[in-house]
Amino acid sequence: MSIWVLRGLRDGVVTTRWPARPDDYADTWRGPARPLAAPLSSDPDAALEALCPTGAITAERGGNVRVDQGRCILCGHCVARRPDVFTWSQGATGSGAAALTRNQLIVPELPETDEAVEAARARLRERTAALRRSVHIRHVDAGSDGSEEWEIQALLGPVYDIHRLGVFFTASPRHADVLLVTGAGARGMTVPLRTTYDGMPDPKIVIAVGTDAVSGGLLSESDATTGGIAATVPVDIWLAGSPPSPFGIINALLVAVGRLARDTTPARLTTGSRGRRRSR
């Protein structure tokens, strides 16, 4: 047994300090596709829409090209074939990060999004004021491909270590504040998912983790899936990615409990423990 005592010291501290401090891996993370701010080609057409296997692209005639990142599975077909119109989002925050409304995942954003987001943020703040610094999570797999589970498990590892942020996993829904749901909404999981949700005390927050949970991804609504989990439980935070990065999931958790706004740079982080230590 004693061999492990020394082994534990081998690599020093490997834990990220993100989001209080920048982290290269988080900041260079390749998120979902998005249209270029200034598309080099000015003639959007139906051919653009056909590039996407999940129908995430909409191209208005003579108007804007939009990508619904909640449908993007990061296959890169659009970026590879039309680099004059599409590119990748960069970083685990900003465009490509957790959203407070479903429409906030559409880039460039729809005109009405700002107000809706503010309203959603206010509603969320009301419910989550009590659980800012100690949050307990329950996870339910509602038809994932298995990769999202790996990324959530990574949060418990030494690199991401979400315990440093006061976030803990719990086996019982009775202890849980946040429900992390993965998967396209398999119909077989509808009842177990709903039962878990109902078993959680109020206030509670639901995070749809990954493009499958947001929209079904490639597995859109069918006999077998509900095309996302929103048909079964009310979603508060929408996180795209196939699968999302562990940093993306941390971002979603912190946005959910009001400790981080979407598009917030580390310097503006206000209530994380590291942030407080720094301001002292």
Binding site: G76, W88, G188, L193, L218, P243
Partner: protein, 481 residues
């Protein structure tokens, strides 16, 4: 001998299957299909896939039109147990003589598929465990029959996360369908994309350039290392070894970061496409080689330390043993088979892509079949993978290739593709007409192997459960497609 053979009638088909199993073929799967152009009640065809050194032989027989039943294969060949349940789920056709036709992959209410207790007696009860279980795990329900500690019988319900993957394939182009193959079993994305692409390439009659073959092997082996480390993490966690768990999780994270450094996705998604790979690796070969060296040494050191920690080994030794005889009868795949003396590694026996040119190190043979042997097999495979990866990095450096894919546009046809995933052999039976998929039946190693969990609880108790489950290292996503 490969290709499609059509014995006259179902009974003749089973005779042929049985005689081939006796001749040393491995039963690799049993699927049913109904031609899509005939709506409703077209004749159902049964396809049995038999693996041999030359490839996959497919034996087929059609049921008479309108047939509602056929004589089951399961009483003659136990390995068909889940396959015939899957066929029953999908088509409603009854395999006569099948021991238990409860729903397997299509969702059903738990009440409707309630089972009488298998073991009866004083104090026997059933612990239903799942589908929502403690920890971050995929959804599956285990029904553990126990008098308190021993586990005389285990039942599984896997249908909760059925996603309709097979139906979704229909109508897709190969370029889109490979993305779905990656998501059929997300932790083995590369192997699934490869098996699918092999089928497509066979139909189209194209061969990926050597550079693409090397890049495929590169990602497949990194995927294997990540998966085996994941199993080790779960085992160490089950044994309460906090430092070992953290160390191994760190290694796994570093492997995933290397994968994302190579292609942008931590799961190697978007790399394998029919006809080759989508792009050259982002890291140049020299840097890749350096990264591999940086990873290999500490992983080997921590693995050695883990395998010298007696409190850990005590939990694995003799836990969840699979007998060599059962492994052979069932055709157990991957590390589960290898640990029980039945090794059929597709990279060696039916090599594909760059495995044909690379020297795949052959493995030591194991017979214990317990959780410890399974972990030993995994560490040996990790070691093999690093050796293969160094060859790949050197090859890529020498060749300085510029061609990473060829045009691959299949018109019509059918083929079976395979690849060795970390869990074992993955099969894709693909049918294409006019460039669109009309049928695609993936068979993961998880589907073939998970049923063996029924049989390994000899003398094990409730606290052995997490060790046995982790040592199987399977993914539920690949079972209830």
């Amino acid at each position: 001998m490969t290709g499609t053979i059509m014995p006259p009638g179902v009974k003749a088909l089973w005779d042929e299957v049985e005689s081939r199993v006796a001749a040393g073929y491995r039963f690799a799967g049993l699927f049913a299909t109904r031609p899509t152009q005939v709506a409703g009640s077209g004749p159902i065809t049964l396809s049995a896939h038999m693996a041999t050194a030359d490839g996959i032989a497919t034996l087929e027989a059609a049921l008479p039109p309108g047939a509602e039943s056929y004589p089951a294969l399961t009483p003659r060949l136990g390995a068909a147990f889940w396959y015939e349940r899957e066929i029953h789920d999908a088509f409603g056709v009854v395999p006569e003589g099948h021991p238990r036709l409860a729903p397997l992959v299509r969702p059903d209410s738990p009440e409707a598929s309630a089972l009488p207790r298998h073991v009866t007696g004083y104090g026997m009860f059933t612990i239903p465990h799942g589908p929502v279980r403690s920890g971050v795990l995929e959804s599956i329900e285990y029904l553990v029959e126990t008098p308190g500690e021993a586990i005389p019988h285990l039942n599984m319900r896997v249908f909760y996360k059925h996603r309709g993957v097979q139906d979704r394939f229909v109508g897709m182009t190969p370029a889109d369908a490979v993305l779905l193959a990656e998501r059929t079993e997300g932790i083995a994305s590369v192997a699934h994309a490869m098996a699918f692409s092999h089928a497509i390439e066979q139909i189209a009659g194209c061969e990926p350039p050597i550079a693409a073959q090397l890049v495929r092997v590169l990602h497949a082996e990194l995927e294997r290392i990540a998966n085996h480390l994941d199993v080790a993490v779960r085992l160490a966690d089950a044994a309460g070894l906090a430092v070992a768990t953290a160390r191994l999780a760190l290694h796994k994270e570093r492997v995933l970061r290397l994968v994302s450094g190579l292609c942008g996705s931590r799961f190697g998604r978007g790399v394998v496409v029919p006809g080759g790979v989508s792009a050259a690796p982002v890291l140049p070969p020299a840097q890749l080689r350096a990264e591999l060296d940086r990873l290999a040494k500490p992983i080997a050191a921590d693995a050695a330390a883990l395998m010298a920690t007696s409190s850990f080994l005590d939990r694995l030794r003799g836990t969840g043993p699979l007998t060599s005889e059962r492994a052979r009868q069932h055709g157990a795949l991957g590390p589960i088979g290898k640990a029980a003396g039945f090794a059929d590694d597709a990279r060696l026996t039916r090599p594909y892509d760059a495995y044909r040119a690379l020297a795949v190190p052959s493995a030591r043979s194991h017979v214990a079949g317990d959780a410890l042997a399974r972990l030993r097999v995994r560490w040996e495979e990790v070691d093999q993978s690093f050796r293969l990866l160094r060859q790949v990095a050197d090859d890529l450096a020498e060749r300085a290739p510029d061609l990473y894919s060829v045009t691959c546009e299949p018109a019509s046809g059918r083929a079976v593709g395979w690849a060795e995933a970390p869990q074992g052999e993955v099969l894709y039976d693909v049918n294409i007409e006019a460039g669109r998929i009309t049928r695609c039946h993936p068979r993961s190693a998880s589907f073939h192997n998970l049923v063996l969990m029924h049989e390994v609880f000899t003398g094990d108790i409730l606290t052995d459960f997490p060790f046995i489950e982790a040592s199987f290292g399977l993914s539920v996503a690949g079972v209830a497609l």
